[in-house]
Amino acid sequence: MSAPHPDIPHVAEARNVDWYEASARHRLTTLLDHGSFIEFMGPTERVVSPHLDLFDLPKQFDDGMVVGRGQFDGKPVLAAAQEGRFMGGAFGEVHGAKLVGLLRAALDVKPDAVLVLFDTGGVRLQEANAGELAIAEIMRALLDARAVGVPVIGLIGGRAGCYGGGGLISGCCSGLVVSEQGRISVSGPEVIETNRGVEEFDSRDRALVWRTMGGKNRRLLGVADAYADDDVESFRAATLELLASPRAFDLDALKARQHMLESRLARFGDCSDAIDVWAKMGAEQPTGVPDLPADAFQALVARIAKEHGA
């Protein structure tokens, strides 16, 4: 790594950035080694959505997706970040295609890793068909990259969470980092409520949303592989940890995953709330899990993992 430029604050200080509040570009530039990020098809190229005019909606010159290359801990990586503040980070045609292109490039470029900073409500409904298909293409390209040995790490902790097809893509990663603020789910709270009624899921019950879909439950269940505080430095440390032993994409790895998913059904299939799941896991005070500070929560994760070998 090159020494930090004298004009900028110390690197550690520069990474004292609130992940949840930061923009996509700010997350990327601070996560990667200082000054190393080079963006592809950036906003100056003005590649915008061809579909939003039909809805009289404003366009953005990057369509809410930032892609490029950089160094991470001194090694070459490709990286992408979704801008949750533009249309909820949703996948449209251009937005999705930028990530498809980046992942396809990984087959030839063979970076040390691809990092994907999710922040998405799922498919952009105004261009739903293109967005849905983009998600399928991203999953295929992502798994093709993993199959040739390029690890893909997902990072989730933004305003929009990681919903819909974004949740499915995140599940394809070699490893997933989540913060407390990161929510991972397929159907969002409002969609469940619209389809099944408020008795099934009350989307206005924020505590219910967080304990069901939020980062703590996702980490405890093993949906995510690492837990980070809500700052760039913590996400960076967790990503480095996952890159030390990324999950393979092969029969053995998928058999292990199958076993994990079936065991979860057997153990927790009759639970009706996250509190019940955490109690069964052995949390001493399951109702207190949402209030646990990060270090106490990490200790709980470690203890449960040790007891169940999961």
């Binding site: 098809m41 070459p76 292109g101 490039a105 819909g164 789910s185 619209t194 099934e200 998928l254 998913l261």
Partner: protein, 244 residues
């Protein structure tokens, strides 16, 4: 076409394909040249939740492990993903994603995965089944959609009437087979009046290589920009890498 009629037309040489009480399809069939095709799927517009996804992925992994080499046919007439507190609580995203990964592993291992969309499908269930196959065909009357219009109305905060009006004139957004086919999601719509076995044999004999859906989407006018954007980003990445 009913599932029974489809199976009879697809597999005139006989099959053991059945549908269980959860709407999951499992079985094997004889196809051209004495080969065996394996079959999985979702029938009766059933929702795809964590239990169903785990059963389907288990079967796909068994086939990979047994080194099955015939095609793997994925028949789809599903609801969306099951929208419930329980399924989301236990990590539905991971179960659906795992199913898609198992299908891709099977394809990489030599079992060509062929999706046949013969009914409805939507949202996450669509991505984890039909769209996770290496080639997807549809039968006339198939009804894919990304999201039902009432849910779209809730999420987009647009009135349902306005959405219904726009759905009539806007292919990139509106539900339906023709619109999905224009994006390149569907390789071909089969002719229900001709034997499906012949159409399957022709499809299996055709060259398979890479993900051509964005190219199809450009040719058919449903996705004007995707192929070009992906190619340009990939070129930029290759250039930057070469220059580094």
């Amino acid at each position: 076409m009913t599932l029974d009629a489809i199976l009879a037309s697809l597999f005139p040489g006989g099959h053991s394909v059945t549908t269980d009480d959860r709407g999951l399809i499992f079985g094997t069939a004889s196809i051209n040249g004495g080969r065996t095709a394996n079959v999985i799927g979702v029938a009766n517009r059933s929702p795809l939740g964590i239990d169903e996804a785990a059963s389907l992925s288990r079967r796909v992994l068994e086939l990979v492990e047994s080194k099955a080499d015939g095609p793997l046919i994925v028949l789809v007439d599903s609801d969306s993903q099951r929208m419930s507190k329980r399924d989301e609580l236990l990590g539905l995203s991971q179960y659906l994603s795992h199913l898609a990964q198992c299908l891709q592993l099977a394809d990489r291992g030599g079992q060509r995965t062929v999706g046949i969309l013969y009914g409805h499908t939507a949202a996450g269930a669509f991505i984890a089944t039909a769209l996770a196959t290496s080639v997807l065909v549809a039968l006339p009357g198939a009804e894919p959609e990304v999201m039902d219009l009432p849910s779209m109305a809730r999420v987009t905060k647009l009135p349902l009437d306005v959405l219904k009006e726009k759905a009539k004139s806007t292919p990139v957004f509106a539900p339906g087979l023709d619109n999905l086919a224009k994006t390149g999601a569907v390789h071909a719509v089969w002719d229900a009046k001709k034997p499906l076995a012949q159409q399957l044999a022709a499809l299996l004999a055709s060259v398979s290589g890479g993900d051509e859906r964005d190219r199809l989407g450009r040719e058919r006018g449903g996705r004007p920009k995707a192929a070009e954007v992906a190619a340009k980003v990939a070129e930029a990445a290759a250039r930057a890498s070469a220059g580094a």
